[in-house]
């Protein structure tokens, strides 16, 4: 007789509410945060040294796995850390592919087909989170922006006021808002470049979300984009600082009323780069900033007359101010 063993890997997710767990505290210092000593499984009060918890269960990971490990088998038996905060109560069971011979029935199909629909109510939300992560990855956004975007999306999704709109459009708009809220705004065109949604639709969803969540965002300024545009163009720090100064002075002196800050920034970069050794054409700057080169030309014409006042005092001119190109 042959005993055939088959292994199914079954993942069970359990949502745990952290705030109602019984919390151990030192009897003398109820406010002190206990320090964990993992070797003995103790929890020690830092104020008086009393060992409060004894032999508590270690909730850290069971195995340390490294990315360069060739082992295809992940020995961890608890799986990925789910995201109960966002995925709204993750009590699901998923059945993985069988590995042994008895996991297949007579036709070669696997018994226990497919992982059952997991959390169908939040399938759309999980999809959106995946999309957000993909978009953010394309422009190398840090994790905090992605987290903020996820939170915004969850709030909008739960509110249901924008239910008819495409989830991707809402996700793109949330990404835009998150970048703005973190103080590192991305232009609509930059978000457009990593999303399949048109700028018009992202703009519409943006306004709708601000209204639905009753928040507002700060106005964009020219300085927010300088470091990104200049490094994409390969301009040295001196030129970047000069361009920042030029743009700021131009706005202060109100030389460019009604012009979008992106256009003013692009024109300032053009002026600074043309005055330095690292010259860039309007077309190149237009490509990076997402503005048309005629727009740069228009804004440049407005700031050109006051060019000597706009440069910082300590700027080293490769091309003197009077030799700057006049368009």
């Amino acid at each position: 007789m042959l005993w055939v063993t088959t292994t199914f890997i079954i993942e069970v997710g359990v949502a745990v509410r952290l705030d109602v767990l019984p919390r151990v505290t030192c009897p003398n210092h109820p406010d002190a945060i206990l320090v964990e000593d993992y070797r003995a499984g103790d929890m020690i009060c830092p104020e008086c040294g009393l060992v409060v918890g004894d032999r508590v269960i270690d909730v850290g990971s069971e195995w340390r796995t490294f990315s360069n490990d060739k082992a295809t088998k992940d020995p961890s038996r608890v799986g990925d850390s789910q995201n109960p905060l966002l995925s709204d109560g993750d009590l699901t069971t998923m059945i993985g592919k069988g590995t042994g011979a008895a996991s297949f029935d007579e036709f070669g199909n696997s018994k226990y087909q497919n992982r059952r629909t997991m959390s169908s109510s939040d399938r759309a939300m999980m999809n959106a989170f995946k999309e957000i992560t993909t978009m953010a990855d394309r422009i190398n956004l840090p994790r905090n922006i992605v987290d903020r975007t996820n939170n915004l999306f969850k709030q909008v999704y739960e509110q249901k006021s924008l239910k008819g709109r495409a989830n991707d459009a809402i996700a793109s708009a949330c990404l835009y808002i998150a970048c703005r809220q973190e103080g590192v705004p991305r232009t609509f065109k930059e978000i457009c470049a990593v999303s399949r949604i048109s700028k018009k639709e992202i703009g519409r969803c943006f306004k709708l979300i601000l209204k639905a969540l009753e928040t507002s965002v700060d106005l964009i300024t020219t300085g927010d984009f300088m470091s990104r545009f200049c490094s994409n163009l390969g301009l040295p720090k001196q030129v970047q600082m000069a361009a920042t100064h030029i743009a700021r002075k131009a706005v202060e002196l109100d030389l460019v009323p009604g012009r979008s800050p992106i256009s003013v920034a692009a024109a300032a970069i053009y002026m600074a780069s043309q005055a330095s050794a690292e010259k860039r054409t309007q077309k190149e700057i237009g490509d990076i900033a997402g503005v048309a080169d005629v727009t740069i030309r228009q804004s440049y014409r407005l700031i050109y007359p006051r060019a000597p006042d706009l440069f910082p005092a300590d700027f080293k001119f490769d091309t003197p101010v009077d030799k700057l190109p006049q368009l």
Binding site: F188, G203, L219, I220, L253, D254, P257, G258, I262
Partner: protein
């Protein structure tokens, strides 16, 4: 403020029926407080508005009284003794076609009870106007009126398109006949259900006249067209405050009403709540007002926004 007797000297010359024809007339026309036979209007809360705005509104009301034609009901005029100085929304909806800029009827209408009451008529107390808050003296000009009317019968768009002049009909693109007339210069969308949308007129009367012309065209083509439920759906006005505006400052202080995204649109979109009007405010000082159902809403909205804009005037 003098309640009953002599008008302030600067307004003596204005105490006449034709003193106020357009809302832009110099504001100090205290004939208004004397209750020139105003119809009791549906009360709107005017406590937040300045007296001069009230006076302006009353000027408009007076305009209506003077220009009323016989179709105005006698009962309403009989009840005009009360000197309530409330908003005009009620009557202005009835007589949109009376805002002629040219014709002035100065004679008192037959059947009206005396418009200029004795000093005995009770007056509602008016909050004294702060002398600094002048009304702007700028009148928004109407640029576009959109109105709808029901012709009351089903129409065959193909025959209309074939037989009428200046009509285009492309059912694959849009399910209505687009007809244009030259005087007043307007465009109409005529649907097969018999409903019609008329756009492009510059005044309420012109819009009604144009809609009637279109209805007559349809009638001449053989359909039993009527003219039911003419209603003005939207009015657009524009004006210039003549000074540049700091939009960044405005969006900071009026965050819950304003939306300013230079990447999306160069103007600031201000959604006023009290008359529900959307204003597009530009750096140059030009202002576009839209979303009004009656002319008075546009004027009121502009009078509301003007002091705010003055506060954000660019100093350089």
């Amino acid at each position: 403020m003098d309640q009953n007797n002599s008008l302030p000297p600067y307004a003596q010359g204005l105490a006449s029926p034709q003193g106020a024809m357009t809302p832009g007339i110099p504001i100090f026309s205290p004939m208004m407080p004397y209750g020139t036979g105003l119809t009791p209007q549906p009360v709107q809360s005017t406590s937040s508005l300045s007296i001069l705005e009230e006076q302006q509104r009353q000027q408009q009301q007076q305009q209506q009284q003077q220009q009323q034609q016989q179709q105005q009901q006698q009962q309403q005029q009989a009840a005009q003794q009360s000197t309530s100085q409330q908003a005009t929304q009620g009557t202005s909806g009835q007589t949109p076609q009376l805002f002629h800029s040219q014709t002035l009827t100065t004679a008192p209408l037959p059947g009206t009870t005396p418009l200029y009451p004795s000093p005995m008529t009770p007056m509602t107390p008016i909050t004294p106007a702060t002398p600094a808050s002048e009304s702007s003296g700028i009148v928004p000009q109407l640029q576009n009126i959109v109105s709808t009317v029901n012709l009351g019968c089903k129409l065959d768009l193909k025959t209309i398109a074939l037989r009428a002049r200046n009509a285009e009909y492309n059912p694959k693109r849009f399910a209505a006949v687009i007809m244009r007339i030259r005087e007043p210069r307007t465009t109409a969308l005529i649907f097969s259900s018999g409903k019609m949308v008329c756009t492009g007129a510059k005044s309420e009367e012109q819009s009604r006249l144009a809609a009637r012309k279109y209805a007559r065209v349809v009638q001449k083509l053989g359909f039993p067209a009527k003219f039911l439920d003419f209603k003005i759906q939207n009015m657009v006005g524009s004006c210039d405050v003549k000074f540049p505006i700091r939009l960044e400052g405005l969006v900071l202080t009026h965050q819950q009403f304003s939306s300013y995204e230079p990447e999306l649109f160069p103007g600031l979109i201000y959604r006023m709540i009290k008359p529900r009007i959307v204003l597009l405010i530009f750096v140059s000082g030009k202002v576009v007002l839209t979303g009004a159902k009656v002319r008075a809403e546009i004027y009121e909205a502009f009078e509301n926004i003007y002091p705010i804009l003055k506060g954000f005037r660019k100093t350089t």
